[in-house]
Symmetry: C2
């Protein structure tokens, strides 16, 4: 079982093949961690189910959301955590610091919360230039200021050379969920419309290009951006937002499959509905990658009530990160928990999670 | 400037010498991260001041407490984060999982809060045995259950071999601070009594012994333990707790110096007041280490009102982690922000933070 055997040229067939080949059984006691366990696909899910969910048994962890919404006195607190290990740490359109703030703040927003505070834990490798750390921290603060969150507490650890990779960052974010607001997979129902806020695949391809030193005609920039104000805009406009998910590790496809599985609904998306920039598409063809499974860092899917679609799209398109926002699919009868991709020719196929990892250390 | 030149045989003199030799100026732009930046001493503080405090400018980060206490609606939330990189990850008396839960939950408790929820972010090195991860997670859950906190959200990343060291864990904890409760360095005042809850130096020596393969007559076990119920006991008993700090990285000495500096008070401690187990003392003499600067993971200093000393000691001694609790010092006139160690012969010397690191990767 290896994380490197998860290709993705032909999403549907290949992904299903991986499932059968690589995940016949739960993670065994003699197994070892492989890169695929960090890919956000089936192997990650299996590890979470086998090792974490069994031990940390509580209703919040079980919701499989981007974060947890927990009671705190009379309020409801959203809390989400992510560690960032992206390589290289500087890439077109961002760096690990910008990513660490956007990613976690976005996850808090996806819980329907207003992000307020962030903690930052650094694991630094001996020999890392202080100047690089300074740049990264400055990027974090720029996002924090833009979003209106405060980095209120932190920690720094240093490990020897060869025990890290310059800078790893954990950020944990907390926010308040307004009374009565419910944004979660279990609110998704038949007839809901699926909106996608941006073009797909840019973050993953930007990082991979920087890592492999591949040059395209124009530089592909990561879409890394904060999404909290777009989300707040949806609530302010009175849109009935059923569920939100940012399309990070595992891409748009994984986000949709996870929601469909938890919500127990069939989601149908149209394969001509989303935008992929020409350079990104070219890179995907070159490397045999499926853009639908490539990480984005400034793009979300929103499940909204059908009567609110026009209002929601107007809000999304008014946001700098949402100019490509469009309707991409719909929740069909709740018979099967799956995502179907319908082509313009009328054929359809099931999208499943990849087994392992298309691109390791993308976030 | 190296983190390895910070010895500690003769605490006072050597530490002051280090200060002059190693920290003549702020961290420069051409400098690189060294192990000493993670030691919890002067170099860590310099890095925090130079790189982090300047960027993340807000009143909470500036309090230099173990965590931040922030407003959340009508409530007050305590939030604290720590990444754990201890090597080896299993050691007598605990493992990285137990440490990751105790450490963060204790930090939340030191803010005067009741710990409620914890997030857990894992950075796993390719090749790590899943069984080791299972043991570590099980240790985390055992502490969570004991303390009554819930691990509600998490994240897993995987890095290639040689880019980590099996398991790194970030935990971030949140808790509620009761209305009106203030526990912070700025509440410390002249006449306050300093209590120490446990014997000193055990965690650091236990980890170092496991790492170096040094065997003593009896195995030295880490003191790693949750302290939240002891802290709650102090509040329940009506003790006026001015400030709390667990004596982790940098040991009892660093905890006291940091509080004295923020509170701008002189703290005098007696050099015969605390307990060091014979085996720990022997190990310290063997390795030329000062036990007062060695990390503990189940030991706190409490600054309390003088009239509450007896009550506080009774509460502390009733706790399994507090059986060695005793009065170790007192806050003198608020003339100089420093800690003085008074010997039984009547001499006294100033204790200062070490420059770098006595023992790297102890937590």
């Amino acid at each position: 079982m290896s994380g490197n055997d998860a290709g993705g040229k032909d999403t549907g067939g290949k992904a299903r093949l991986d499932v059968q080949l690589s995940c016949p059984a739960p993670v065994g006691t003699r197994d070892r961690v492989v890169l695929g366990h960090g890919g956000g696909g089936l192997m990650t899910n299996r590890l979470i189910e086998d090792v974490f969910l069994g031990a940390f048994d509580n209703p919040w962890l079980g919701t499989r959301h981007d974060g947890a919404v927990v009671p705190l006195g009379t309020a409801r607190l959203a809390i989400s955590t992510d560690s960032y290990v992206v390589s290289p740490m500087f890439f077109p359109g961002g760096d690990i610091g910008k990513l660490a703030l956007c990613g976690t703040v976005n996850d808090v927003a996806m819980c329907g919360a207003r992000p307020l505070y962030v903690s930052a834990g650094f694991i630094l490798e001996e020999g890392t230039p202080i100047e690089a750390l300074r740049r990264v921290v400055s990027s974090m603060q720029a996002v924090a200021r833009e979003v209106g969150v405060q980095v209120v507490t932190g920690d720094t650890k240093v490990v020897e050379r060869g025990r890290g990779d310059q800078i790893y960052i954990n950020t944990t974010g907390v926010g308040l969920v307004e009374a009565g607001r419910q944004v979660a997979p279990n609110r998704v129902r038949e007839g809901d419309v699926v909106l996608l806020s941006g073009d797909v695949g840019r973050h993953g391809i930007a990082v991979m290009s920087a890592r492999e030193g591949v040059a395209f005609e124009t530089t592909i920039e990561s879409d890394c951006a904060p999404l909290a104000s777009m989300v707040q805009g949806l609530f302010d406009a009175g849109v009935d937002v059923r569920c939100l998910r940012d399309c990070t590790r595992g891409g748009v496809a994984s986000a949709l499959v996870e929601i469909a599985e938890v919500a127990r609904v069939e989601v149908e998306i149209r394969d001509d509905a989303w935008v992929v920039e020409a350079e990104v598409l070219g890179a995907c063809e070159l490397f045999g990658l499926d853009p639908l499974f490539i990480a984005n860092e400034g793009c979300l899917v929103a499940f909204v009530a059908p009567e609110d679609v026009a209002k929601a799209l107007a809000v999304m398109r008014a946001d700098p990160a949402g100019r490509h926002a469009r309707e991409v699919g719909r929740v069909m009868k709740a018979e099967r928990a799956e995502v179907r991709l319908r082509s313009s020719l009328g054929t359809s196929r099931v999208i499943e999670l990849l087994s392992g990892e298309q691109l390791p250390r993308i976030c």
